[in-house]
């Protein structure tokens, strides 16, 4: 069930030139939200920006968490990209923010314990929604690929290290960190290390172009590849049909990112 509720800003700090970490105290949301789901945040009381903005939750700490400062809080890691996120950078401690959530269908997990490798591929701020998944899957063999335009777009590295993932790979398009190229280039470069003759899970999140490229290079036989989509949204809860992607569903080809998604099986997506 989705709630419409107010949270209180605890902290809103810049962590990289274009990236901010927002901590909101909202116990009712923190306890409900699952990995891959998102919330719609009201960023302003004015009519511009008018629409709420969708955010996946980076970390959530249900009430009772041993760290008292974090108990009941949600963490949102966002990139300043436009008018809406610009407004968010002005959020002050103690300010009320209205949100709707949890929304959408999150990732589905492999049968646990999973015998083969699990691959996570995140482009830019997309890595954030994979982090909460990695927390759930931390005792599995996790391989994390992260990419961005420059080193300032590489996020959550320390988090993944703390989870003790099997291996991390980094790519930047300007070669400022790790492999030179896109995260998909890097994944292709490393592809041989995985056992493709056994069932394999890939989870990915990032810009549409990245997901499209991944769909082109992955042979889906025996591979479950779940992708979390980003889209401009009207409402976030299924009412307006503004955020669709095209799928191979014969009855309803255009499915809602906010309702049927944001996670889709990549093999079901029809690219145009």
């Amino acid at each position: 069930m989705a709630l419409q509720t107010n949270g209180i800003v605890v902290k809103n700090e810049r962590i990289k030139p274009l990236y901010f970490l927002l901590t909101i105290y909202c116990p009712s949301m923190a306890i409900e939200i699952k990995t891959g789901q998102f919330i719609m945040l009201k960023v302003s009381d004015s009519h511009f920006p008018l629409l709420r903005r969708p955010f996946s939750v980076y970390k959530s700490y249900p009430t009772g968490h041993p760290d008292k400062k974090k108990s009941g809080c949600l963490l949102i890691l966002y990139k300043k990209v436009g008018k809406g996120t610009q407004k968010m950078t002005e959020f002050k401690k103690g300010q009320k923010v209205n949100m709707i959530g949890p929304l959408g269908n999150g990732f589905s997990l492999p049968p646990l314990p999973f015998s083969n490798d699990i691959i996570l591929i995140g482009g830019g701020v997309g890595i954030v929604s994979l982090y909460s998944l990695a927390e759930v899957l931390k005792s599995q063999k996790l391989f994390v690929f992260m990419g961005g335009k420059t080193k300032d777009d590489i996020l959550c590295e320390e988090d993944f290290k703390k989870l003790n993932v099997s291996k991390m790979f980094t790519a930047t398009e300007d070669e400022s960190l790790g492999y030179k190229g896109t995260v998909i280039d890097l994944f292709l470069y490393q592809k041989k290390r995985f056992k493709w003759n056994k069932p394999l899970y890939i989870y990915c999140c990032g810009p549409v172009e990245m997901l499209k490229e991944l769909a082109r290079v992955v042979k889906f036989k025996g591979v479950v590849c779940q992708a979390s989509f980003e889209a401009r949204m009207g409402c976030g809860f299924g009412a307006c049909w503004g955020c669709v992607v095209k799928t191979n569903d014969p009855k309803t080809p255009y499915q809602r990112v906010c309702k049927e998604g944001p996670v889709f099986n990549l093999k079901d997506i029809v690219w145009e």
Partner: protein
């Protein structure tokens, strides 16, 4: 001091009486169920369904929505499962709701409009129909009928013959004289008119040098259109005797009161539902509060109090 009784919020739209003048606009309220987590839908005066066509409609390619200053442009393209699937899979939910259900419908041809009206006429549990002759996002039908007064008159006259249900005709603002359109529709036998649908609009990305919408053009809604919508509702109210339902950028009770003052018998909340799903309830409460504050006994009295 004696207590003032609660103001009377009920209004009559053609053949039906609503407990309050607040409805939710087609296309912004899904099939109702999307809102059930947020409030008790029975509090609304009426619920209007997403537009239904005879056959399923796939809708337009994405991107389908773009935010502008004080508004949004959409090009959803009337995606809907079609009559049969609607009756089987969507109507059962609506039937659980006790308030009035008004079905928004449209066709690509006159035959389709008439056929749909006839079919809905036989479906129990429906309080009325809202006929969409004003969608800017589909090539066939829709706005084609809604921008030519003669075509609109003939279409509504034929649909009128096909149904006894309360018939509301939803008008397009993309016309030279909306009063003339409303007059024609009234003469053809409509029980009420609702206006306005969205304004044809577009937006361009100067970095990619592409249109922001997959369909290139779409329809503008939201607070940005309110002053124009208000003027049109005023013009139409001066021209027709049938009830006028005001739509266009209503975000709060004060906006709704403006529409009622200039002659609307009821109003519809559209874009605001997406931003705050509880807008309908807030507007109902706000109207009530205004009437109490100003010692006005009923919402229907408001229109008489407009000083020009």
């Amino acid at each position: 001091m004696h207590s003032i009784p609660d103001p009377n919020l009920s209004v009559t739209i053609g053949k039906i009486k609503l407990k309050n003048p607040v409805m939710v606009a087609s296309g912004t309220f899904g099939f109702g169920e999307e809102y059930e987590d947020f409030f008790d839908l029975n509090q609304l005066g009426a619920i209007i369904s997403k537009g239904i066509s005879l056959k399923p409609m796939m809708g337009n390619p994405p991107p389908r929505i773009f935010e502008t200053e004080g508004g949004i442009i959409n090009s959803i393209g009337l995606q809907n499962p079609g009559f049969q699937d609607f009756i089987k899979n969507k109507l059962p939910y609506y039937k659980k709701i006790k308030t009035h259900l008004i079905i928004n419908f449209f066709g690509n041809t006159q035959r389709e409009y008439v056929e749909l009206a006839r079919r809905f006429d036989e479906v129990p549990g429906i309080s009325g129909l809202e006929m969409n002759i004003s969608c800017p996002n589909v090539k066939q039908g829709g706005i084609v009928f809604g921008s030519d007064p003669k075509m609109a008159y003939h279409l509504v006259r034929e649909v009128r013959k096909a149904t006894k249900l309360n018939l509301i005709v939803k008008l397009s603002p993309n016309v030279t004289d909306i009063g003339l359109m409303a007059k024609g529709v009234e003469e053809a036998g409509a029980d009420a008119v609702s206006l306005v649908n969205t304004f044809r609009a577009m937006a361009v990305n100067i970095h990619t040098r592409k249109p922001e919408l997959g369909n290139i053009i779409g329809g503008l809604s939201g607070p940005a259109i309110k002053p124009i919508a208000l003027r049109m509702v005023w013009e139409v109210s001066c021209r027709v005797e049938i009830p006028v339902i005001g739509i266009g950028g209503i975000m709060k009770a004060e906006d709704a009161i403006e529409f009622i003052l200039v002659g609307a018998s009821a109003i519809q909340i559209g874009t605001a539902n997406l931003v705050n799903p509880r807008t309908g309830i807030d507007v109902i409460n706000g109207i009530k509060k205004y009437l109490i504050q100003h010692k006005i006994e009923g919402v229907q009295k408001l229109t008489d109090l407009f000083n020009t």
